[in-house]
């Protein structure tokens, strides 16, 4: 085909420009408005003049440095633990074929969609003082005191982060590892190297880009982690930057201080995203070098230790990841039947949740309203994000590499601002507008669009780039104009990717708590917020019932998209 530089008709087609520009403008608008308000608050002093006073005050406050140090340390330790758990699994996934591999691979996608409030709740239910592990140990040992007292400690934060994030390391590293051609290993073998030597000298150096990429992503997620620290950190001792921003904005009402801290957060996350994108470039660079087609040999684990390792890892990851989630479901059907507090199967929490049973003063009473607004918000968010993501992808597909990179970076920009900061920005917007509940919900939707559209773009753009240009060209020569081609050839081929993207957007929006908590006033409650309130009032079982409904909603959406992809 035409390999030379040159202007093809599609380069000059106004159609793709017309698609991309409004999407880009909208995203810029949605992103920049809250950002500029934050900047305004941070850099403008009491008299309305520009000044660095607030920033200086923030930077000279030893408290800021203490929080920052803790934030970075917990993120670093969480990352190391996550990668350390993920790496052996990546080895097993990349080398062996075994039953249940599909389950582990499915687990790898969980962190991107699992609401953090569910992680928190699952953690409490599973590892808490009265949690399932403690109860199991207590029954076995016959004691009355819980042996595992982990809640509200540093270890709890790390463990929750590891549980949340190690599947990212597992997924990213194993899929990269699988693609490494084994001929280098074979070469090393013929040169006399032993297995461990081969791993150390041949495989590990080639895995570095993937490990770095996973690490930076996990570090970024842990850095801007919010709900986990808010609940499990449990106090000023374990306060991170994001929690402090929320605390100042919504509790001590020190908006300017929150804005100044946001600047710090934005700078750090920007650096982290830049590093992450650099590691991704390293990865694609290596993939280009090593693109060799060969039949991959996946063997069944032959030795006894190999089989034990595979089994052990499978049990571990299923219990570690799915255990807390199943615990939530189990707990939601348990209620005390007698004064003594013995638990038995009961639908009480669901009855309360749906208003069939009166409860005075419990947040559970607002659950139905919250569910309806969450569903509405998630639906609108996913439609808007899908539209923006598809339009942007159509624009980015055609641009040449150099420009595409800067534009992709641009489209990824919302990722570089933590959702707490996005929430703060929209909170500041909301305090400037006088409006009712509808305005509030709209602002939540806009914040969610900013958070989810990069994910949608990321699921569509690679698929879009896979459509050969000859398809588009063939359609044009067959008499379809550019927009007809877009509708009849490109969109149908993108349908699976669009379905995935929309489902991701829906699930993320449905479980989003960071921005929503910072932004929303008391008139707006979503499912995660009600869950947060229930946890705060120690109604864990009620939170479990609502959490189960949240999981069911996301599961239905994903099942629906799977059938969409098939048809």
């Amino acid at each position: 085909m035409n390999r030379k530089e040159g202007k093809d008709i599609l380069d000059t087609s106004r159609f793709y420009r017309a698609l991309g520009t409004p999407a880009m403008l909208l995203l810029t608008f949605l992103f920049l408005i809250p950002l500029s308000i934050i900047l305004g608050k941070a850099f403008v002093d009491v008299d309305g003049g520009l000044s660095l006073e607030r920033l200086q005050a923030m930077l000279s406050d030893p408290y800021t440095w203490r929080i920052l140090r803790f934030t970075l340390v917990q993120a670093l330790v969480s990352t190391l633990v996550s990668v350390a758990i993920g790496l052996p699994g990546a080895y097993l996934l990349a080398t062996y074929r075994f039953r249940g591999k599909g389950i582990i691979k499915a687990i790898c996608t969980i962190p991107f969609v699992l609401p953090s409030i569910l992680v928190v709740l699952g953690f409490v239910i599973f590892y808490g003082n009265n949690g399932m592990i403690n109860q199991a140990i207590m029954t076995i040992l016959g004691t009355d005191t819980p042996p595992l007292k982990i809640l509200y400690t540093f270890a709890a934060v790390i463990l929750a982060h590891a549980f949340y994030n190690f599947p990212i390391a597992l997924g990213l590293i194993s899929s990269f590892w699988e693609q490494l051609p084994s001929r280098y290993n074979h070469a090393a073998m013929t040169l006399g190297a032993r297995r461990w030597t081969i791993f150390r000298t041949v495989t590990l150096p080639r895995l570095v880009p993937a490990i770095l990429s996973a690490s930076t992503l996990i570090f970024l997620f842990c850095f801007s982690s919010f709900a986990i620290l808010l609940v499990l950190g449990g106090g000023p001792r374990f306060t991170t930057l994001e929690v402090e921003i929320y605390r100042r904005a919504r509790m001590t009402l020190d908006i300017e201080g929150a804005a100044a801290l946001s600047i710090l957060s934005i700078v750090i996350t920007l650096v982290l995203v830049a590093i992450h994108i650099w590691t991704q470039k390293l990865m694609t660079h290596q993939e280009e070098i090593e693109r060799i087609d060969e039949r991959r040999l996946e063997r069944r684990p032959s030795s006894f230790t190999g089989r034990v390792a595979v089994m052990g890892y499978m049990v571990f990851s299923v219990v570690f990841v799915l255990g807390p989630l199943l615990g939530i479901v189990y707990r939601s059907f348990q209620a005390p039947v007698s004064r003594s507090g013995d638990l038995a199967f009961s639908l009480r929490w669901y009855r309360q949740l749906f208003g069939l049973e009166e409860v005075a003063g419990s947040a559970l009473g607002t659950a139905v309203t919250a569910l309806l607004s969450s569903l509405t918000i998630a639906l609108v968010t996913s439609i808007v994000s899908l539209t923006i993501g598809t339009m942007l992808a159509a624009r980015l597909r055609r641009t040449n590499r150099k420009r595409a990179l800067s534009m992709e970076l641009y489209a990824m920009l919302p990722m570089a601002v933590s959702s707490v900061v996005v929430g703060l920005g929209y909170y500041l917007v909301s305090s400037a507008i006088v409006g009712g509940r509808a305005v509030g919900i709209t602002l939540v939707v806009l914040a969610h669009v900013v958070i989810t559209s990069p994910f949608v773009l990321r699921s569509i753009l690679p698929e879009y780039r896979k459509i050969p240009f000859s398809y588009t060209q063939a359609s044009l020569t067959l008499g379809a104009n550019v927009s007809q081609t877009f509708r009849r050839v490109e969109l149908p081929l993108l349908r699976p990717a669009m379905a995935t993207g929309a489902a991701f957007a829906f699930a993320i929006s449905m479980g989003e708590i960071n921005a929503t908590l910072v932004l929303a006033d008391s008139s707006i409650s979503t499912v995660p917020i009600v869950m947060y309130r229930l946890i705060g009032s120690y109604n864990f079982a009620g939170a479990c019932a609502l959490g189960t409904i949240l999981m069911v909603c996301c599961a239905i959406v994903f099942a629906f998209t799977e059938t969409m992809k098939r048809s």
Partner: protein, 357 residues
Amino acid sequence: MAEKGLVCSQVRVDYPEFTLSLDLEVSPGELVSIIGPSGCGKSTTLQLITGLIPCHTGSISLNGRDISHVPVWERNIGMVFQDYALFPHLNVGKNVAYSLRFQNISKRERSERIIRLLELVDLAGYDKRKINELSGGERQRVALARALASQPQLLLLDEPLSALDAKMRKRLRQQIRHIHEETGITTLYVTHDQEEALTISDRIMVMQQGRMEQYDTPERIYNRPATLFAARFMGDGTLLPHDLIPRTLVSIDKGPDTVIFRSSGESKQVFFRPERVIVHDNPSLAFPEFLPHLRFTDAKVISCEYQGGRYLLSCEWNGHTILAYTRHRPKHSRVSLGVRVNDLVEYVADTVVGESH
């Protein structure tokens, strides 16, 4: 312009390190091949004609209508892509019917046309099949049927057989030629395979680095290549300096040939194809040629390649390599070679001299 067929006049496209200039006329109903090495501008030429690349200089007209500025989708030019570009989300029938959606064609006629086209390409009954269930050859034919569906005025084929194995290529090129004759559609056929071009075409255009090297019938392209590039690209041959002629010329009873002594030589060369060479390996018999010819006695056989049905000899004579075909393996390592004066093509600075024979 009232001319029928395809006329590209003074079309130019400039790329940073490459310029394509095109002057081409294709008569109605003709099948013309474009041949050249990769990167010579063959595919770009097709994309220009379809309108996938805009034409800013020069003009393209089809059956008397200037289409230089008509958008791709209104040109009604059928094209078969190298990778076929069949839409994987549509079945065979819907792929073939794709172009009919954009025309005012009744449902009944649409389905009739699909049936007719699939019969034409020998795929009757395939309309409900999925694309990924088809073999390479079947995909190629579906692509052909799809390109023909809107009854285009011009059909473009971009290396349509390059992804297929040798046997399938031979079968399909016959079928393409047959369909061409049946539909009578003006056709441009891009290939890099010289055998394909020679067998299928009415005329061949040889391209190099964005320029047309020669545009002629297959016979003339093969036997009288206009340039040394065309000569070499279209097949094997031997190139010798012109000043060898006085030393090797044998004129039995006629006078010296007029062609050879007409012009004086400096940097002149002669070229001939291996099948024009007479190989004589029995010194006890007389040399079997009586017309004026060049004779290279006592050439050394360097290699003898069996090609199935014939041998390709590579012989060394006074430091020159001469290629020749024979039906038998030579009995000795020393042979005498002869080539008729009439079979020589002369070149000065890479370009042919003397259009007369």
